[in-house]
Symmetry: C2
Subunit: 382 residues, 2 copies
Amino acid sequence: MIYLDNAATSFPKPLRVYDEMDRCMRTYCANPGRGGHAMSIASGKAVSEAREKIAAFFNIDNSLRLAFTKNATEAINIAIKGVIKPGDHVITTCMEHNAVIRPLKTLEKDGIISLSIVEGDNFGRIDIERIIDYINPRTRLIVSTLSSNVNGIIFPVKEMGRIARTRGILFLVDASQGAGAEEIDVDEMNIDLLAFPGHKGLLGPQGTGGIYIREGINITPIMQGGTGSISDYLYQPEMMPDLIESGTLNTPGIIGLAYGVDFINKTGLNNIKVFKHSLIKRLMEGMEEIKGIVQYSLKDIDNNSGIAAMNFKGVDSSEVSYILDKEFGIATRAGLHCAPLAHKTLGTTGQGVVRFSVGCFNTVDEIDYTLKALRKISSRFN
Amino acid sequence: MIYLDNAATSFPKPLRVYDEMDRCMRTYCANPGRGGHAMSIASGKAVSEAREKIAAFFNIDNSLRLAFTKNATEAINIAIKGVIKPGDHVITTCMEHNAVIRPLKTLEKDGIISLSIVEGDNFGRIDIERIIDYINPRTRLIVSTLSSNVNGIIFPVKEMGRIARTRGILFLVDASQGAGAEEIDVDEMNIDLLAFPGHKGLLGPQGTGGIYIREGINITPIMQGGTGSISDYLYQPEMMPDLIESGTLNTPGIIGLAYGVDFINKTGLNNIKVFKHSLIKRLMEGMEEIKGIVQYSLKDIDNNSGIAAMNFKGVDSSEVSYILDKEFGIATRAGLHCAPLAHKTLGTTGQGVVRFSVGCFNTVDEIDYTLKALRKISSRFN
């Protein structure tokens, strides 16, 4: 199997991720922060070190402002619902995933917020000035993806952060696509709230993710429960990360995530980035030569988190993806990728797109084989 | 290390849980239900089979009514906030965990619900008639733990279910303590909503849990996001389990959980139960002979999910737990166990209790060694 579905979940993970998760589970996985015995302390310490490592990765000063979640979707829901008040106005982009769009559209439908969605060009690029146009005195929050999960374009997050901060508007970045691919510095980018998954670019396991909440931002949590702290208090503790982390954490998962981040640090984010860019460039340039292919990712490879989106003219994306899987053993994702507005923007709502998403473990040979497969498929449709 | 903290998280897990999680991660873990390639389908199939196995374990007819969560706390929050409407009245018990108490007290504080907490006797036993006394025309929900996480007593869930069902009141059971120890039949027990963790009695990994929602009950979810279904719809799909399962699931965790349940099925729930009862009986009877020990668990072993709660008269529970860990290598949990009302009921708010919670991998020798340790500690304090 040639795995080109890393934007859905990365595969494989660094070997140490598997090894350390397994070691944790078999040898010391008690309940972190619950109870003072040796195993519980060992688990608590491992979680705490993981928190510090991941916080440092995003240049978060105080690691306690980082709470672990089960995935990015939970983190996004916590962020949006945690800061929104009735009557607020929210601005987001046309390239968001349903993890952003569905909570916002639900709040809009329930009459709690008003919502503006910044339009993009044919590739989903937005004009930063349009965001400014949409800002009104009730605007509390701007939400943007770091990178589109459909065609990989990188959003001007730093500029958006500056616009938000100078106007006292909160800025939430959905780094589901992009964390582990692009450098994220919450300070430099003026990010108030950062939501990320563990199992994609960060090379950790499924069942992990996190939310960074800048110091001074008050969040109303969507859940309450046991935190192992102030146990005699019948309400949720207000201190981070307890405010957000109710119930038992996914200790082995969090440890796996820390080793994923460790792998990125040791390999070098920039090395991974350059390597992935070279694979995507090879793939996109190769596809340009193939008859009948329409591409939806930008040629500007430097602004791509590792995705090449394409179609054969007039052929359903699912059919192509099916052939790639069945006949060539190449894993891609077709359809709408849970991002209907992005497909509306790209003009691919009916057809979907075939998404090739590379990871740091893909190889040049795999790209060449994929191009060979696409040439064969092309000859069938043209 | 003698691990007697199974009520916090069970350890160890059946070997197959480790093996199959590891195999999943290393060989086929793609994104289940997202994309149609071979690995994604293999992951989706494994999740689907896990869902069926776990549903069957609770006698849930339609496995699609079972949604996976990250832990029991999430499941409880989904259940409570999913069915509550402003002005509702909720009844719960004095032995609940903060996973139940904190969401309910928060809703009460916010003026959304009124709340009645049924009192118990010195062991936390409630009089079923008191529940009936509390019912009023606005009562929408009764919430009860299946078993106390402090002293292990089993609640009369079947009777409570009957009372709720005959009056058209919804019944939520928190099976955090008890799932895997007591048989749970959602039909026979008239359970409308069942919340459970994966990492305790079910012998699965941390990062897993679930919520069963009876057919016909409408839930307003606390999160929205991508579900891999009806992707062009900007709101949350209403069908189960997608309604609840937003974002990427914890595939390896869910597979591990299924193998935990598998182990219970193969060993026999009743065999595990009888064995754990014999260990607890041995421990409690042994403690009765030791000077200075006060016990908080019922002698009625058949109504105990596997917990012996005790103190040395006048000695802080944390001190005893600390000595057990440091000098004897015995892991217990002291303090309030995130259940302040239970401790108020037991009269142990100041002192906490030392909780010994057994699992199916504990041994008679371990219990005897623990008793020896307690005798030594007793000689120090008496």
